[in-house]
């Protein structure tokens, strides 16, 4: 398998990109060709990731102490991309180390499952070719983020995944809500991207190179203030991409996209890129306590705040979206206390169980034709496979042992608790709420009596096979925790019994509470009423959208409008018009002198000549 590694890893990004073009051109005619071509990228990614891991495990002393990860199993030559003179370059280069290899596996597996799932989910959609083309482009771009060995490469991939996300959220572009959601997602993440851009500008300027490993080597020699500023900028970029407070509002809206897209981009891969970026560039954050504080704060607020919102939503995709923000918050909290290994492990397990939950919700939505959990119910009998996999996912999400989520969440709680008990307790509450909403949705969707008309049915094989494939890691990934820690060469807090027991107990309590609070739609609605205004606030996600609209969007638009109407038209152009008016008035005034009276002209000539003579004789005196 190591022969595979002789291939330049850059092809992991380029080939899916080219395939995207091919799909766009031929996908209309040969319908099955589109998903098959789109599947090649993910499968290649998985193969490459496995080969890299094997090579790293086989190496004698694979670890690069400076980076905290393994030395690269495969790397591409440094291609000069932007060249000025002999000494200023921006380079395109990629490398696969242990961190990248694990992430490649995540991307590849989830993407492959999503492509297969989409065959059934999008059957007969007029945008078929477009869909698979953009998915393939996304896989290539995401791979580029993962294997980037220079900051330039990283930023290119980073922006491209954003663009793919934009195109896929707006996939059903005729819906105004989808168009609005796509625009919102792109612009919100763009704010974060400017942060990332500034961070890269600082690092490149300081280090004089954009090669990540060299930059990280240089961090020790940079002034602390500069590193701190760079880290804060990078953190803002990560926060935007990973939908953390205060740049989180785009993710719930992004659910306007097709559900498999939500599973791939808005649960497993792209939104996790913020976590990956931070882990990747950890030495920068290591030297920047303020940036760590920022990550921790954003993470804890997002984890708890979004979990509470998720607990009351009726739209199943909204529940999952807020759950994603909350789970990413756990990861950010772990990053904030320096436990990037724990954060990354949670990223992996979360990718598995959340992608599966999203695909499961897709299967349900496809079947019952609604996203409202109150209109579902009793589906466990008609959709046994979906139910079984969903149950594994929900239990993993809730953090019930021995499923994967238990181990990874425990690792996060462990490290955060030791660093900051306040943040740790907030996360404990959040994990109880997580179990609450996991139980609530499971009961409302799969238990009780069937609510909708009886046309619900189990999904086709292309849809349930991916669910089963994802269920496996969602269930057992926790067992490889030790191996992941080892291959990442990262220090991890040993799991302690008190913390694990407390987490498990809280999860069970939360789960039971969620179960009892949601006895059918009627019971759920009653619980909701009992909450009163608190419930309304949570259902409206703290009115955050309205707040942003009033505090940021509208003032910004007003400023733009004012700048145009007052600044551009009235003042600048007005000045021009005034100038023109003045010229024409002056012309009209002066033309009075042009009386047509030859004698007046002659008199003027005489007077001027006399004056000139006088002046000349005066000067020449």
């Amino acid at each position: 398998m190591s022969g595979l590694l002789r291939i330049d890893p850059l092809y992991l990004a380029v080939v899916p990109g080219i395939l995207a073009l091919v799909i766009a051109l031929v996908g209309k005619r040969a319908r099955l060709a589109a998903p098959l071509l789109a599947l090649m990228g993910p499968l290649g990614t998985v193969a490459y990731g496995l080969a890299s891991l094997q090579a790293i495990a086989a190496a004698d002393d694979p670890f690069d102490p400076a980076l905290g990860t393994s030395a690269a199993a495969a790397a591409s030559p440094q291609r000069l991309w932007f060249v000025v003179g002999e000494d200023w370059f921006l380079r395109i280069s990629t490398a696969v180390d242990s961190l990248a290899a694990l992430m490649l596996l995540v991307v590849g597996v989830v993407a492959a499952c999503v492509v297969v799932f989409s065959i059934g989910y999008l059957h007969g959609d007029p945008g078929w070719a477009r869909y698979f083309a953009v998915i393939s482009l996304f896989v290539g771009s995401m791979n580029l983020v993962v294997i980037a060995a220079t900051l330039t490469t990283l930023f290119i991939g980073w922006e491209l995944v954003g663009a793919c996300s934009y195109l896929l959220i707006g996939f059903w572009f005729s819906k105004p809500s989808a168009a609005a959601a796509a625009t919102k997602a792109f612009l919100t993440t763009r704010v974060g991207d400017v942060g990332l851009l500034a961070g890269i500008a600082i690092l490149v300027t300081q280090a004089g190179t954009d090669v990540s490993s060299l930059v990280l080597d240089f961090v020790d020699t940079m002034p602390a203030g500069v590193v701190g500023a760079a880290a804060i900028c990078l953190a803002i970029g990560a926060i935007g991409k990973s939908a953390q407070f205060p740049l989180h509002a785009w993710l719930p809206d992004a659910m306007e996209g097709p559900t498999p897209v939500s599973a791939l981009i808005h649960a497993a891969t792209m939104v996790a890129a913020g976590v990956y970026l931070t882990a990747r560039l950890w030495p920068v954050f290591d030297a920047a306590p303020h940036a760590q504080m920022l990550l921790l704060t954003a993470g804890v607020i997002s984890a708890l705040g979004a979990a509470l919102v998720a607990a009351i939503q009726r739209d199943i995709k909204k529940v999952l979206a807020y759950s994603t923000i909350s789970q990413l918050g756990f990861m950010f909290a772990a990053l904030g206390v320096g436990a990037w290994g724990a954060a990354f492990f949670h990223l992996m397990t979360h990718a598995a169980f959340k992608a599966m939950l999203f695909l499961g919700s897709g299967s349900v939505i496809h079947s019952v034709g609604t996203q409202d959990v109150h209109e579902m119910g009793g589906l466990r009998r008609v959709m046994p496979v979906t139910f079984g996999t969903w149950l594994i996912g929900a239990l993993a999400l809730a953090g019930i042992a021995p499923l994967s989520g238990f181990f990874s969440k425990d690792a996060v709680l462990e490290s955060v608790w030791h660093a900051s008990p306040v943040a740790g307790s907030a996360l404990f509450v959040a994990s109880a709420v997580t179990a609450f909403y996991a139980a609530r949705v499971t009961r409302l969707v799969f238990f009780g009596t069937p609510n909708s008309d009886a046309h619900a049915h189990e999904a086709s094989a292309t849809m349930w096979v991916p669910l089963v494939v994802l269920a496996l890691p969602a269930a057992v990934l926790g067992l490889v925790h030790g191996a992941v820690v080892e291959v990442l060469a990262v220090h991890a807090e040993p799991l302690s019994v008190p913390i694990s027991a407390a987490a498990l107990a809280l999860a069970v309590i939360g789960g039971v509470a969620g179960w009892t609070a949601s006895r059918g739609p009627v019971g759920d609605a009653a619980t909701r009423r009992r909450l009163g205004t608190v419930g309304d606030t949570l259902a409206a996600a703290y009115h955050y959208d309205a707040l942003v609209d009033r505090a940021v969007v509208r003032p910004a638009v007003a400023v733009c409008r004012g700048l145009w109407a007052a600044g551009d038209r009235l003042i600048v152009d007005g000045f021009t018009v005034l100038l023109a008016l003045g010229a024409s008035l002056a012309g009209r005034g002066l033309s009075r002198l042009h009386s047509g009276d030859a004698q007046a002209y002659a008199a003027t000539i005489v007077a001027v000549a006399a004056l000139a003579l006088a002046a000349i004789s005066w000067i020449g005196r």
Binding site: L90, F173, G208, W564
Partner: protein
């Protein structure tokens, strides 16, 4: 091919770039008598000849020699024309844009002979601006662009075209008049009219801020920077499609090219004081243009204001005047020529079909005119500076250099970047996405239009993937000039 033969080929190609369209112009004028379709064929032939000449310059031993020596003159004794890595991208852009302009005016039937003839004169004058190695010839070519462009806008534009054309003429002519004073000052001060000679001598002796701004003001009006930009939205909006394409595609680049070719090398000592002013003007321009573009209701006007924003980046990069930033400036200009050219081409095609540019009357074109929509989304993303496409490398490098020189002020540029994305996405959302609007019977792009758009798209991707194509070619030029401050690190 020996060096001498190669030089002869270069000389022939340089003259062909200017003379072929110039001589073809009267032929096109009279060809109308033989049928309304004839002039465009003449025009196509002339522009293809320009493309061929560029291809000769780009390929083979000629370009190898270019890379080696930096500058190969035509009529070396006369010192009239020359080509180097700075001029080459702009000349190529001119030829390509000419092709698009011709394609866009394929369906012009009213006095098509005069239309094509004027277009060809503009083409010749533009090529001459970029190739001139003599400051007087440069000035003559610079001003020669004005009149045919004025006639094109006034004669074939939409409703308020005459006023817009007059505004265009007055603004650029006023700038040109100041430039003339500057040119005379150069002639008197340097005692030479050869751009190469003056550049090699390290500038005009004793040139200070006065000469800098005399020369620069003509260029800045053309670029344009805020606050002398108001001719641009009017002229771009009212001009016929071909006019808009040439205006946005090449005409604005005359300003940036002039700054790099003439102003900086001629008055290098003024840079320390005047460079920051340029940067400040540019930063204002980015935010100003983007903010104005964001609130436009007329699609063409939106694209026009986007030019103000993008040229703001160029002003910033030129003002920083490092080797990196100048490379970025050239990249941004060439990229904007391609992207804005494509956008105006698409908007023109839409206008031809719908007879309106009011954004609110469109909607959901994604399911009505698919190819058009794909091209429009592509161009909008390119305009928003998406990596992998041509707009990104220049803006990325400009941002890094701005941070290096100006620190946190670069964040204002960052705000501009967000706004740039905002107005582009707004256009896409209102026109391509959403439910069908009032105008719902728009036919998709035809074969000729698809080919034109595809050519532009390929160029945009190539430049985005391989910006070194331009930056490497620029290197000899950057090495040849005295003023450049620092080379990054």
């Amino acid at each position: 091919m020996s060096a001498m033969e190669a030089n002869a080929v270069t000389v022939a190609a340089l003259w062909a770039l200017i003379l072929v369209p110039l001589l073809a112009a009267p032929i096109a004028w009279f060809a109308e008598r033989g049928g309304g379709g004839r002039p465009r064929l003449v025009g196509l032939g002339a522009v293809l000849a320009q493309v061929a000449a560029v291809a000769v310059l780009l390929t083979g031993e000629v370009s190898a020699e270019l890379a080696e020596s930096g500058r190969r003159g035509a009529g070396a004794a006369a010192g009239l024309l020359a080509i180097d890595g700075l001029a080459l991208p702009f000349v190529a852009l001119t030829a390509l844009t000419g092709l698009a302009a011709l394609s866009a005016s394929w369906s012009v039937t009213r006095r098509s002979g005069a239309h094509v003839a004027l277009l060809l004169v503009v083409q010749a004058a533009l090529a001459c601006v970029f190739l001139a190695d003599n400051i007087v010839l440069f000035y003559i070519a610079w001003e020669s662009v004005l009149v045919p462009m004025y006639l094109l806008i006034g004669g074939w534009g939409s409703r308020n075209a005459r006023a817009a054309a007059a505004k265009f003429l007055v603004f650029t002519f006023a700038g040109g008049a100041v430039l003339l004073v500057g040119v005379i000052a150069v002639l008197v001060g340097a005692g030479s009219s050869s751009i190469a000679v003056i550049t090699a001598a390290g500038g005009v002796p004793g040139a200070g801020a006065l000469l800098f701004w005399l020369l620069a003001s003509g260029m800045l009006v053309k670029l344009p920077v805020v606050p002398v930009h108001t001719w641009l939205p009017d002229a771009h909006t009212e001009a016929p499609t071909a006019g808009s394409i040439v205006l946005a595609g090449v005409l604005l680049k005359m300003g940036g090219y002039g700054l790099i070719r003439i102003v900086l090398p001629f008055a290098p000592d003024a840079l320390a004081g005047s460079g920051p002013v340029l940067v400040a003007l540019g930063i204002v321009g980015v935010v100003w243009g983007a903010a104005c573009a964001f609130v436009q209701t007329d699609l063409k006007r939106l694209v026009a204001y986007s030019s103000v924003a993008h040229m703001g980046f160029v002003a910033v990069a030129v003002g920083l005047a490092t080797r990196v930033s100048l490379s970025a400036a050239v990249l941004t200009m060439v990229s904007h020529g391609l992207v804005a050219g494509l956008l105006f081409f698409l908007v023109g095609a839409l206008y031809e079909r719908a007879h309106t540019r009011e954004i609110s009357r469109f909607g959901g074109l994604g399911s009505i005119a698919r190819i058009w929509s794909v091209a429009f989304v592509f161009a909008s993303l390119a305009s928003a500076g998406l990596p992998g496409l041509s707009g990104f490398p220049g803006e990325f490098a400009t941002f890094i250099e701005t941070y290096r020189a100006w620190g946190w002020w670069s964040l204002v540029l960052g705000a501009g970047i967000v706004l740039v994305a905002a107005y582009n996405l707004r256009g896409v959302r209102a026109i391509v996405q959403g439910p069908s609007g009032e105008i719902s019977d728009v036919s998709d792009l035809g074969l000729r239009e698809r080919v034109t758009a595809a050519v532009f798209a390929v160029c945009i991707v190539v430049l985005g993937v391989a910006p070194f194509l331009i930056t490497v070619a620029l290197e000899p030029f950057l090495n040849s000039i005295a003023y450049v401050t620092g080379g990054g690190r």
